[in-house]
């Protein structure tokens, strides 16, 4: 059964925001395993998106560490601790700050296992708020895109509280570095206040569960066209798909949930059924994960397609501040809708 977003919103069962679900995942994993610890900037006040709120009270400053503004330093430190058997979780206030630590990510974290011939492994989770949210160009990167070309990293981009919790628990237990990228609009917090919205809220069961890294999910069943989207774009795509349902266009919405490993088979199986493919992502069009997926589908399933593969992504510009300009470049529902209709005319 697809995990229908509408269904989960209507449910009378427990509703959490994404950040609440993430904190629950962290607490459960920290209680389960003494080796798990959290470090990051301003964790005393919960960091920027309240990911660490309350953790200090429960686990103390030995396991919840407030760091200096030294991203390269504390990423390297977490790598060293992971090599010696610990399981660090690094909370980045903004995923955008990871670039000051990029040697540690790309050259150390992603490669030490490989170049040591398997002598070391690095279980390490990066909690990375991603995407544009009205803060200007340097706090608007779709950081997940940058990691796609780095062998050795796993990348999760959950869009719902249910997926966020289940994937996060798997990330903590994974023996590899996991870049856990959550869109800034999806946490359910704004300016260190909880700010719930329909997209940040959803059903999370009481009982424990895990979602394996690398398994996608069909968020809405459909017959006419396959739409692959993640993060904030998944919610915009679902809104469009639900509206089009009333107009006689049946869109199947596939959420890859992880970019590495990528559940390509799930997309192929959907395309075999619908014969049309649209890929929606917030990152820059050039070099995006959608470009790789388009190449993979073209290479493995082009015979099933009745129309060209299309992509909707942000054009190759930095993200501007003015709300008018930001909305002009970030894919919105109108653009997604118009490309779906173009493909249906094909």
């Amino acid at each position: 059964m697809p995990t229908d977003r509408k269904q989960s919103v209507q449910s009378t069962s427990r509703q959490l925001t994404v950040v609440q679900a993430l904190r629950e995942a962290v607490r459960e994993e920290m209680r389960r395993d003494e080796q798990v610890f959290v470090l990051g900037e301003d964790i005393r006040i919960g960091g920027s998106f309240l990911f660490t709120l309350g953790l200090l009270d429960e686990f103390g400053s030995e396991r919840v560490l407030n760091t200096p503004i030294s991203e390269a330093g504390f990423v390297g430190l977490a790598i060293g601790a992971a090599i010696q058997g610990m399981r660090p979780i690094i909370d980045f206030q903004y995923g955008d700050f990871i670039f000051t630590a990029f040697d540690q990510i790309m050259q150390q974290c992603a490669k030490l296992q490989y170049m040591s011939g398997g002598q070391v492994s690095i279980p390490l989770v990066f909690q990375l708020p991603t995407g544009a949210s009205g803060r200007g160009a340097q706090h608007a990167n779709s950081v997940e895109t940058v990691f796609c070309g780095i062998p050795g990293l796993k990348i999760a981009t959950p869009a719902t509280p249910y997926d966020a919790k289940g994937l996060f628990k798997s990330a903590v237990r994974d023996n590899n570095p996991v870049m856990f990228c959550v869109h800034k609009h999806l946490y359910g917090s704004k300016g260190r206040q909880l700010a719930e919205s329909s997209i940040s809220r959803g059903h999370v069961p009481d009982e424990e569960y895990l979602i394996p890294l690398g398994r996608g999910d069909i968020k809405k069943r459909g017959q006419d066209i396959t739409l692959v989207a993640n993060g904030l774009m998944l919610h915009r795509s679902l809104n469009v798909a639900e509206a089009l349902e009333n107009e006689g266009v049946s869109v199947e919405v596939v959420d890859p949930r992880c970019l590495a490993p990528f559940d390509t088979d799930l997309v192929i199986n959907s395309v075999v059924k619908t014969s049309r493919l649209l890929i929606v992502e917030e990152g820059s069009e050039r070099g995006g994960w959608g470009a790789q997926l388009a190449a993979d589908i073209a290479g493995q399933a082009i015979g099933f397609l009745d129309a060209p593969i299309r992509r909707v992504a942000t054009p190759n510009v930095p993200i501007p501040f003015s709300p008018v300009l930001e909305s002009a470049v970030i894919p919105d529902e109108a653009r997604i809708r118009s490309v779906i209709l173009e493909l249906m005319d094909h």
Binding site: G76, I79, G80, S121
Partner: protein, 337 residues
């Protein structure tokens, strides 16, 4: 631009060896000679065109590697630099697995996937080398963090060169180690040159160790071609770290006998400086001190030289006889299970 100022060696009076254990003195000599002969052999194999890749030799810097590693316990860990063959041998990586790694063989310490720039063996506490200047310092601090948290009593030692002291990662690592009182020793092998750039051109202070006080940790500058002095300094820093005293910075003044890497003759170095430092070669100096000690005879020392020579010859035979990795193994170890 700052001018290059020639830095001549200042050789102190050596301490008498009477107070030191015979086996330790012997092992210091053996490992220094092992490194020297290993690297001379590697250089020869390169010149013959037999060995692939690139190499950065540590000829002349044997005393700091050996003095430091022999002051550590077996369970302690080190991080190595791009100039890491000597550090690896000093910590106990076998000559066989090291030579095989340089040849890219499957029997190498990293199964042929690391090469000269990434040698190491976790089973003897040598984290496969990190060849990016500065990057290993926070990682060493992180290993020390795990030791402190697990109350294991282990210490991490971070080898780096003086050029590293101008990198941001390094400064961040020193600060983190100091604020969290981590059991880590930052060991600078100051050989005066970052490739061709002299330390006096790129640092407005005289010594790297002066920077320690800015982070609230002890710093000392010692003559790094005396393995005994290095051993003393590291032993004392390790004792402090184990007792919860936090990190220390030790700067060992030394010199590369050759250039930066195999295709670099080091012609940018003033001859006056080169000649003065070449006369301070740590191995003959230490050998003389051993011979002045009644516990060591010439024949005993020559026996060590001969044993090392056969170890090196055997390592080359082992490496040449070893299989190359299977091509399938290029796809292994990208992700851990």
């Amino acid at each position: 631009m700052r001018a290059l100022t020639i830095r001549l060696p200042q050789v102190p009076d050596f301490a008498p060896l009477d107070a030191y254990d015979h086996d330790l003195l012997r092992e210091i000599y053996r490992r220094m000679v092992l490194i020297r002969q290993f690297e001379l052999k590697v250089n020869e194999l390169f010149l013959q065109g037999v060995m692939p890749g690139t190499i950065h030799l540590s000829l002349g810097q044997e005393a700091s590697a050996v003095g430091a590693c022999l002051a550590l316990e077996a369970g302690d860990v080190i991080t190595l630099t791009h100039r890491g063959h000597g550090q690896a041998l000093a910590k106990g990586v076998s000559a066989d697995s090291l030579m095989a790694e340089l040849f890219g063989k499957v029997t190498g310490c990293c199964r042929g996937k690391g090469g000269s720039l990434h040698v190491g063996d976790m089973s003897v506490g040598a984290l496969p080398a990190i060849a990016i200047v500065g990057a290993s310092s926070p990682i060493a601090a992180g290993m020390a963090f795990a030791f402190k948290r697990g109350e294991t009593g282990q210490v991490a030692l971070n080898f780096f060169g003086e050029g590293t002291a101008n990198k941001g990662d390094w400064h961040e690592a020193l600060n983190l180690a100091a604020i969290w009182k981590l059991p880590v020793i930052f060991l600078c092998e100051n050989n005066l040159y970052g490739v061709s750039t002299h330390v006096t051109e790129v640092m407005a202070i005289d010594y790297v160790a002066e920077r320690a006080s800015a982070y609230g940790m002890p710093g000392s500058t010692i003559y790094g071609n005396d393995p005994i002095a290095v051993h003393e300094a590291v032993k004392s820093a390790a004792d402090q770290a184990r007792a919860g005293g936090g990190p220390a910075l030790i700067e060992c003044l030394t010199y590369r006998r050759g250039g930066h890497k195999r295709d670099d003759p080091g012609a940018y170095r003033p001859q006056e400086e080169v000649q003065a430092w070449l006369r301070t070669d740590p191995i003959p100096a230490y050998r003389e001190r051993l011979l002045a000690d009644s516990r060591f005879s010439l024949s005993a020392i020559e026996a060590i030289d001969a044993a090392v020579a056969s170890t090196i010859d055997a390592s080359v035979e082992f490496a040449l006889a070893s299989a190359a990795p299977t091509t399938e193994s290029a796809w292994e170890h990208v992700y851990a299970d």
